[in-house]
Symmetry: C2
């Protein structure tokens, strides 16, 4: 039970980031990187495609960047409001991030199965708030969403 | 023959970036994104882990970022001095970059096979200069290299 509370508290940070992105007029996806042992927040961030004109800034990569250089990621947890795309899944696999908390994977499936194959522990939160925030944005700005996932 | 000259000229830009990174004391890996149809340079960049304390800045992601928002990547060529890691391979697959010119894949194999499976056209340049530049750096700074590819 304690663990579930902790996961929910972590997702809350990612969701805060998604809401900041939304308020900025951007794609509302947020993420954060935590130390699994201490529970310390290492970095948090959100998608900045629109705000910064930066297509490389997905929620996960922004949180990863803001965490700065880390010697190892084995004992870190990446929490994200949306299932990570191939790009962000590749980040997780390359750097050996051990656990990923996924706000929702209904709007977008991403690389969940690939992550599992590589031994990444996936925790699905099935958050209605995450779904509503993103699906509302996609409804209003389908062209930005398609650009963000590389779909024509 | 014209195409080979063109690929070599593209690799030369990536190599210039790698050398800039080296001169800055960073991991000497560079990349650039080109329009395949016009041959125009869209963005160029290099690994900035050391210089900016930014672990998200691999050669490929830095070039991708510097190219700004693009509507489609199908007709782009990513040229890189080194075979892309899982993170950068994920970027290439997610955004549908059609062609990747690889300076060398001897020092590091990365996701070459995975890219091929996804229909990405891979052009191997087997560049001695790329190999020497990176292997020299790895010899001098093995700990930074290992950090850059997520190895303990």
């Amino acid at each position: 039970m304690l663990e579930m509370i902790s996961y929910e508290a972590m997702l809350e940070i990612a969701l805060e980031e998604a809401k900041i992105g939304h308020a900025e007029g951007g794609v509302p996806i947020g993420a954060a990187l935590f130390d699994r042992i201490t529970g310390n927040l290492l970095g948090r961030g959100h998608n900045k495609r629109v705000q910064d004109g930066d297509p490389s800034s997905h929620g996960e990569t922004d949180a990863f960047r803001n965490a700065g250089r880390q010697r190892s990621y084995r004992d870190t947890i990446m929490v994200t409001t949306l299932a990570p795309c191939w790009y962000c899944s590749g980040l997780i696999i390359q750097f050996g991030i051990g656990t990923v908390i996924v706000g929702e994977s209904e709007t977008f499936q991403g690389g969940i199965d690939w992550l599992k194959e590589h031994g990444v522990k996936i925790i699905q939160m099935d958050s209605i708030e995450c779904k509503q925030l993103l699906s509302g944005f996609i409804h209003e700005h389908p062209e930005i969403w398609n650009e963000d996932i590389g779909e024509l």
